[in-house]
Symmetry: C2
Subunit: 602 residues, 2 copies
């Protein structure tokens, strides 16, 4: 079985031909990252992923072991974790002076696509070290940075994020964990946190837990939440490890998937000995969370996508090798031989559907990654704002749409294997199970839709949304110039249709029909995602059309494939998007009008 994880040619296409990653090298910040360097980075990431990480995925599926309040990760995880740390892959995008590699986001995404596609559960550990480290970098005092940061960015120590409590999930504001000032700058922390990925494990000697808690006397709700840095083992002022800090893992969850990533219930201060230091300002914990949210949600979108991309590559490989049944055109010929199942039209439909989503999502993800890069390197505030606007409006869509479609793609991958796909002998059923969590955590996809409709759509008087429309229309214009009038007109109609629906949604959300509007928030998010896929395919086809004639022979089928995939998506899927728009236009209120009793008989 080929172990490819991702389509390297397409990654290069998106990086260099679509997003022009090498142009970033013209900026001071990314001067080192010319095409050659980027190639080298992606090569190294791919090799590490294929040789060292991918082989641990099935082993990881057997799960972590919980015993005596300690968690043991799958044995096979230790070696690739060391290699990731050695290779400085934990904090790819952060500044070298604090332990990072200073890469553009897009390049980190290319590497991440390989790593996460190889073993998503495993990559949670370094991912969380990095994420928690980022909180320390942005909100920490010099002392906190001195004590924690480098150890986190280099993966020497782990990290987590302690938000959720049994009665405070989507509603973080309901949390009850308390922090009591000790008078020496530390706080005594007390509470129970659940669903803590990497909350306790044996990969690292220490773990730094960013913890959301309420300082005694703070206001109720989100306005009274502060963020604390709580080490598993106390870190003395000289950086040496001190006493156990009374953060106790009570159990780990048994889950549907990502078994290699332990999900912990943690009790803080059960013995009254848990201490932390304030990270950022008092009562500004939620604000800190929000600042990290965009990158975290982009990361979850990438997780779902990367697993789906891996599932597609497996399905493609399998359907190219598995022989079963005759070619449909020879159905009546008794002497016809069995053919590989990629020859069957319905298998084609499944593969093409997977490819259409994978290609479209890759472009979408790298586009947003590129917005981060361009935001960082913008020449002026106006330009910086434009990219941040695009990020703000696209983040909920990228998190929700990519994970929903990733689940669909993995399901199609299982289906294309037939009965074998349902067995653990093949890797796709695990990818299907693992992917589902990405639709749930880091804000369920329903929460994303509320963010899109309730915050992002009307943000700054609708400017970010209009800017998105403008960027899409620019591609439409370029496609027309390249001679793709027909495809361009269809995408144009989809973009205009999405704009029209956005107006309707915004208006309805501000009317007395607000509940009905929010009952359509997910369908609206879906329509926007579909439209973005159409945009991306049009963009891809435009580039491919401009290049295919003069392309090298090995590139010709690739470009032709991009054009065909664009035709497939735009002609076969955008009509369904139009149907979804019409569904929203009907603005049916039955779901919110139902009495609770009416959902089932008595």
């Amino acid at each position: 079985m080929a172990q490819l994880i991702a389509d390297r040619r397409d990654i290069d296409f998106v990086l260099f031909e679509q997003m022009k990653a090498d142009e970033l090298a013209k900026t001071d910040k990314f001067a080192e990252f010319n095409k050659k360097t980027i190639d080298l980075i992606v090569n190294e990431a791919r090799n590490l992923a294929i040789k060292e990480i991918l082989p641990t995925n099935a082993d990881g599926d057997k799960g972590c072991v919980f015993e005596n309040n300690k968690v043991t990760v799958p044995e096979s995880f230790h070696r690739p974790y060391e290699l990731l740390c050695e290779g400085e892959w934990v904090a790819m995008q952060e500044d070298p002076e604090v332990g990072g590699q200073g890469m553009p986001a897009m390049v980190a995404q290319a590497a991440g696509e390989y790593f996460v596609g190889a073993n998503c559960a495993f990559m949670m550990y370094p991912g969380l070290s990095h994420g928690a480290g980022h909180l320390v970098e942005v909100f920490g005092t010099d002392k906190q940075k001195e004590l924690y940061l480098k150890n986190m960015y280099t993966g020497k120590w782990g990290g987590t994020m302690l938000l959720t409590e049994p009665e405070a999930g989507s509603d973080v504001g309901a949390l009850t964990t308390t922090a009591k000032p000790n008078g020496d700058g530390t706080y005594s922390i007390s509470g129970t946190k659940i669903f803590i990925s990497g909350g306790e494990h044996d990969l690292t000697e220490n773990i730094i837990h960013p913890v959301l808690a309420r300082i005694e006397g703070a206001p109720a709700g989100t306005a009274g939440i502060s963020l604390f840095a709580v080490p598993k083992i106390w870190v003395n002022d000289d950086g040496s490890l001190g006493e156990d800090n009374d953060v106790v893992c009570d159990r780990i969850e048994e889950k549907m998937g990502i078994h290699g990533s332990c999900t912990c219930v943690l009790t803080l201060g059960g013995k009254g000995k848990c201490k932390g230091t304030l990270l950022g300002e008092e009562n500004k914990g939620m604000r800190a969370m929000f600042q990290m949210m965009n990158e975290a949600r982009l990361g979850v979108g990438l997780q779902g996508f990367s697993m789906a991309s891996c599932a597609y590559m497996y399905a493609l490989d399998y359907t190219r090798q598995r022989k079963q049944g005759k070619n449909l055109l020879e159905f009546a010929n008794p002497d016809a031989q069995s053919v590989t199942i990629i020859n069957h039209p319905d298998v084609r439909r499944m593969l093409m559907t997977m490819k259409a989503y994978i290609d479209g999502m890759r472009s979408f993800l790298y586009f947003v990654g590129n917005c981060f890069d361009k935001h960082k390197t913008a020449g002026n505030e106006e330009e910086a704002e434009k990219y941040m606007n695009l990020i703000e409006v696209l983040i909920p869509v990228i998190k929700a749409y990519c994970t929903d479609r990733a689940f669909d793609v993995c399901s199609l991958a299982v289906q294309s294997y037939g009965g074998y796909g349902y067995t653990k002998e093949y890797p796709v059923e695990q990818l299907l199970r693992d992917t589902k969590i990405t639709c749930i955590y880091e804000g369920t996809n329903g929460i994303q839709a509320m963010d899109l409709l309730g915050r992002k759509l009307g943000m700054k008087g609708g400017k970010p949304f209009m800017e998105l429309m403008g960027v899409m229309m620019q591609t439409v214009a370029e496609a027309k110039e390249a001679g793709l009038e027909d495809l361009a007109a269809k995408v144009e109609a989809a973009v205009n249709g999405a704009g029209e629906i956005a107006m309707l949604m915004g208006k309805t959300a501000m009317s007395e029909k607000v509940l009905t509007a929010f009952a359509h928030a997910c369908p609206f998010q879906d329509v926007l995602g579909d439209t973005i896929m159409g945009w991306m395919h049009l963009w891809r086809a435009t580039i491919a059309t401009n290049k295919v004639e003069k392309a090298k022979s090995k590139d010709k089928p690739f470009y032709e494939g991009l054009i065909k995939t664009a035709n497939f998506y735009i002609n076969s899927f955008l009509p369904i998007t139009e149907g979804k728009r019409n569904s929203i236009k009907a603005m049916e209120s039955a779901a919110v009008d139902m009495t609770e009793d009416a959902f089932a008989g008595k």
Copy 2:
């Protein structure tokens, strides 16, 4: 947590108000099955399912044990299996004289909905005893029936179906298992069969394996396949058990779900000692399979649906109890209390989507069950043919559409639980894993679509399909009479649209664009399923509208719920179906035109 499995009020609605099950009692065959008797049967099935079967589902998920070629099922399965046998639930629909209960199919479906929803993996064992028994009943000699039948229909012995081989899955005709006449009426059987549910287990003292094999010298392909009855332990002429019959279980599959149902690799005749007797005529094995196929596929549709129905009931119960977040209308009120999550519009959308599919699928399944009943009790051949025509055209749709939507419903159920849904602490993730197999086995859903387009659509010059259109239009007319002109007009447009697409599909399948047509077979199947859902909701709403005003107070919300659900489905989902029709009309050929190379870069 409420353990309801299914909405009993809705089952009664479909049985008595929509399908008029009690009218069957006017026929000789079903004279005993008046409303009171049916009530009693469904009550008993529900009690048994809730009290004895449902509690074994999570235990079953831990899986079967394979050791020394023997399979041990989960210990908890033994008691409910005995109770099922004692209660004569194994062969509900078969004649009492051969060990059955002679129930109408629809009533057996109501009971089955509870049993399968409670534990699908467990129900595979009695289900397979019944299915294999049915082959013996229909194709067996008097002697075979004397030796096997009653023991199978009473569940004393198990049954299986040995079709698949490593190189013969969807393409059964490629099988290589051989049968060599021994001259004494028996055949020596030799070969390896895979994916055999219940192929070896400790629930019963014997197992009868119907085996597809090729008699030496038989033609290649499906024309040379015969069916044999091969006992696990030889059955002597006097009915006593003889020697072990050399059917050896080599291993069981590790799967994504239905862990309680063992999936075996069986080697027949590895020691040269496996014997069987011909079941039916030489080389007519495939024909025998086809005769059983309709009921088997209806059964798989019911499996998917039943698990989804159970998932919906769980999700409804959970969202009614779980408090999280404020009511959206009080978002700005700092003193607002948390509400149960069923109050959130997006949760409403999920529940309503689940309910719309569950209600629609229940009506669809019972309608087809009722066609079987009416076919059996038809007064004349013409009437009998009409019902068989409906069965033929609807079977692929019911198998594929119901299982695809069941998977979607289970996924929504997980989503509506949030993070908890992903844990094994709650039952929905298991239902999601278990349900996926129903999209694959008994002919993948892609195979169903080929059956629909390639065989059923053009069957008898298109008469069965036209009859289906006619039946749906009758409901449209009745709805208009009941004052539901608006909803009726929308369903009418969907039915006409489906008819138009059917014409296009049929025409294209007979043109040089045959491959492109078959690449749209699944979308076509999906459109037909959507249309049927619309039909069923219109039918339901018509009945509810006629009754709601004079209904008892406890029934009012139920009927109002049906009307609202019909509005939801018809207004929110049928526009998307229109989009799917437009997608098919575009008849994009990119998927089949792609070169293999173009699916990924080099």
